[in-house]
């Protein structure tokens, strides 16, 4: 009976979202306050209902209700309690429900925190979010109902994919979705502004903190995914250019471009059209990502064609959202006020270049991801695009980004001189040179890209530090606020990431070998001694656990216990063991036993320097995003001119 209540709650939420999508729009067009307020009430009610239905599904997992098909497929009697929570979003139906829950959470947050916005603008924003939610709920209810029953009821369930039985996977999807779905708010703001012809500088100011928060969550989600893949897949890699990863990376790239473009629009009034386009594109790519991951096209285009309901639904949804918003843009854009002019060398130009490079980068990832699908759909052969395609192009495009990045925040709006910038930046340039030369001598295997990456990272980090020190020594009233501090922290993170990403691969050492108890092997100055294996038993698996003692220069560094697990459902999984460190990770993976008695094993040993820089860098980017979003500037009340929805009085002095 209870699961049916969850279903009823979903249908109730659908009705509410449809109401939210219509009444406030009517209210906004004829100034009816009552109708406009439906948006807020609806957002609260919708969030409540979806939360109820989510809790009901979670409850079904906790009490092991195998009469619910989704539970029976993704859980079993032996599954530990903590993984019964993450099993809720371990597969298709539940992860869509999580998507919807997070969308409702964002909508709820917009309803609560946007009291200072003009009523009509808020009503339109909530209406757009209502439409997005309605589309998604239709999808969940008609194609992916998580509450479907299994008759007769199963005695025991299958199992949650063992790869997903890991603490990292408990938080990775919610964080990723917070980012993914968060871009729906930037999107809703853009569409609402177009609908009400309110594409003003204030509009961008309202929209910016939301974009920052969504971007920060997406950064965290991607970083968690990469970290999880690193230690859980057992192959020591941190990024595979896999279509599923690309699906979340594309919105991130465009979201990054959006953040920079919004800065220009807010401060100078320029790039308005471009900011709108990017807001629409970022969310469209989030939907495309959902489509790619959830429709089954990635496994095989033909699998998608044989069971097309889900895929076709998201595809149609995508077409409506992208097509509709672009059409609206085409109708409204020509009438928009242009911003002020800027010179060839100015912060505007540098941010424009940043945007161009990022968009090209996103297009490159998109091409590499979709091209194989296109060929497969045309029956032109099954191909895959090798990681070197992405790696090479990504590295090439990072060069202009990294070189120009410090110029971006050092330069002045409207016009600047190269001479002045050079005067500011010769110290960081020198630091970069020293870093590059030091790498050449200290890490001979780093190679060209490794040296370039370290130099680039030092160049960015030194510029950040110098800039921050200068700004902190200015007059008390003009010291950097949270927004500027956040920007510095995030860019410092970019520098750190660059060093980690470019150095880890060339400097890492790995060895696949056969080891018998008592064998030892030296890798990168560390001696790994294999002490043998023993049987261990977990809550829902049995495992062979190897013991490796690691020595360096005769001293014991650590002991590592990698496992080869066999889950009760018969699935086998490697649980790698690692000793993390700021400058290096030691990593051991157990392969398969090589003889009948189980004394000889295939073993993978890795020494991975600087890999932590990658995630620490990403965490700094995230922290910078959150800090910037909390700036007081974004909570200033709305000026009177904007409340009337008038065009920019404050920009009238700046004709195009």
């Amino acid at each position: 009976m209870i699961p049916e209540l969850g279903q009823v709650a979903l249908i109730g939420a659908l009705l509410i979202s449809l109401t939210m999508g219509t009444l406030p729009l009517i209210g906004a067009s004829n100034g009816n306050q009552k109708l406009m307020r439906v948006g807020q009430t609806g957002a609260v009610a919708q969030f409540f209902l979806i939360a109820v239905s989510f809790i009901i599904l979670t409850w079904a997992f906790i009490v092991q209700d195998f009469s619910v098909e989704y539970v029976a497929r993704n859980s079993n009697l032996q599954l530990p309690l903590e993984y019964r929570f993450s099993a809720v979003w371990g597969s298709h139906e539940g992860s869509l429900l999580l998507w919807e829950l997070i969308l409702c959470l964002w909508t709820f947050a917009v309803a609560i925190f946007s009291k200072k916005l003009p009523d009509d603008f808020r009503a339109r924003t909530l209406a757009v979010l209502g439409w997005i939610s309605a589309g998604f709920l239709l999808f969940v209810i008609f194609t992916s109902n998580p509450f479907g029953r299994l008759i007769p009821q199963a005695v025991d369930g299958l199992d949650l994919n063992p790869l997903l039985q890991d603490p990292g996977l408990i938080i990775h999807p919610p964080m990723l979705y917070m980012g993914y779905v968060g871009f729906s708010v930037s999107f809703a703001f853009a569409v609402a502004a177009l609908l009400g012809q309110q594409v003003t500088r204030e509009w961008v100011r309202w929209s910016r903190p939301w974009t920052h928060v969504a971007w920060a969550f997406l950064t965290l989600g991607i970083a968690l995914g990469s970290w999880w893949a690193y230690y859980e897949l057992g192959w020591g890699g941190w990024w595979f250019w896999d279509p599923v990863e690309n699906a979340s990376f594309m919105p991130w790239i465009v979201g990054t471009a959006l953040i920079h473009s919004q800065a220009v629009t807010e401060k100078r009034g320029t790039f308005r059209n471009w900011t709108l386009i990017l807001a629409i594109t970022a969310f469209s790519l989030c939907l495309l990502g959902t489509f790619l991951v959830r429709s089954g096209v990635l496994t095989s285009v033909h699998a998608f064609a044989s069971d097309p309901t889900r895929g076709v639904f998201i595809l149609a949804y995508l077409v409506v959202v992208v097509g509709g918003s672009l059409l609206l843009f085409a109708i409204r854009a020509p009438g928009m006020v242009q911003g002020s002019n800027f010179a060839g060398l100015s912060r505007e130009t540098l941010l424009l270049i940043n945007n161009l490079v990022l968009v090209v980068m996103a297009a490159m990832v998109l091409t590499g991801t979709l091209y194989p699908l296109l060929l497969d759909a045309l029956d032109a052969g099954k191909i895959s695009v090798g990681p070197p395609y992405f790696g090479t192009l990504f590295a090439l495009l990072l060069v202009p980004l990294a070189v120009l990045l410090p110029f971006g925040f050092y330069s002045r709006w409207q016009e600047d001189s190269l001479k002045r910038l050079m005067g500011e930046l010769y110290v960081p340039a020198f630091v970069a040179l020293v870093g590059g030369v030091a790498t050449y001598f200290l890490l001979p295997t780093a190679g060209g890209w490794g040296i370039a990456g370290v130099a680039g990272g030092f160049w960015i980090m030194a510029s950040c530090l110098r800039y921050y020190r200068e700004r902190m020594s200015s007059m008390p009233g003009r010291r950097p606020g949270r927004s500027e501090t956040g920007m510095i922290i995030a860019h410092f993170g970019v520098g750190l990431f660059l060093i980690g990403a470019s150095l880890t691969n060339p400097v890492s050492q790995e060895k696949h070998l056969r080891m018998v108890a008592g064998d030892s092997f030296e890798l990168a100055g560390y001696t790994f001694v294999f002490e043998g294996t023993r049987g261990v038993r977990g809550p829902n698996y049995v495992a062979d656990e190897g013991e490796f003692i690691v020595y360096k220069g005769g001293e014991r560094v650590t002991s590592l216990y990698p496992q080869k697990r066999r889950y009760s459902s018969g699935q086998v999984m490697t649980e790698a063991a690692l000793d993390p460190g700021l400058t290096r990770d030691l990593y051991v993976g157990l392969g398969e036993p090589l003889d009948e008695r189980g004394t000889a094993w295939a073993v993978r040993l890795y020494h991975k320097p600087f890999i932590r820089f990658i995630w620490i860098g990403a965490l700094l980017m995230m922290a910078g995003g959150f800090l910037a979003a909390s700036d007081r500037r974004y909570r200033r009340p709305v000026s009177e001119t904007v409340k009337h929805g008038a065009a920019d009085a404050n920009l009238a002095e700046a004709p195009a």
């Binding site: 199992d159 994919n161 490159m364 099954k382 895959s384 090439l396």
Partner: protein
């Protein structure tokens, strides 16, 4: 032409040139990194030249997995029914690699027709089960996992 317009024209030309260069590099890089997927039957009809990288996919023929001596070299046969190809791989095999299961190997044929793999991937979906098997289970309403291996 006014100075502003001239500046804009230069800016637009520079952008176009940049995007042009980027797309050219992207195009060539894509061409270089395309890997074709072949089944043993397709390979029998149209052999790949030796040394050319591609991906070979099929089922691991039961009883064909053989370890060579003391090292990490493994040989196995990939089949799709009518045709088969022998694969040699040095390294540790993925967790899901098993006889009778789907597998994808990346590598190239050598002169003797042996496929030297540089990477072996075992195929799986998010439920760790081929869709047909899952469907069959669903039809019977029989969701009990097989315990024979545990």
């Amino acid at each position: 032409m006014t100075p502003t317009r001239k500046r804009r024209l230069i800016a637009v030309l520079l952008i176009l040139a940049g995007v042009g260069v980027a797309s050219t590099i992207a195009f060539y890089s894509l061409q270089e990194n395309l890997l074709y997927f072949q089944s043993p039957s397709e390979l029998a009809q149209q052999p790949m030249p030796a040394g050319r990288q591609f991906r070979l996919g099929g089922l691991v023929k039961p009883g064909s997995v053989e370890r060579q001596g003391e090292g990490l070299t493994t040989q196995f046969v990939v089949t799709d029914g009518p045709e088969e190809v022998t694969v040699e791989y040095v390294g540790t095999l993925p967790d899901l690699f098993r006889e009778g299961q789907g597998v994808i190997a990346r590598g190239a044929l050598d002169d003797s027709g042996l496929f030297a793999a540089s990477e072996v991937l075992a195929k799986h979906d998010e439920n760790y089960m081929p869709p047909e098997v899952a469907d069959a289970l669903e039809e019977s309403g029989h969701l009990m996992p097989s315990k024979d291996e545990g």
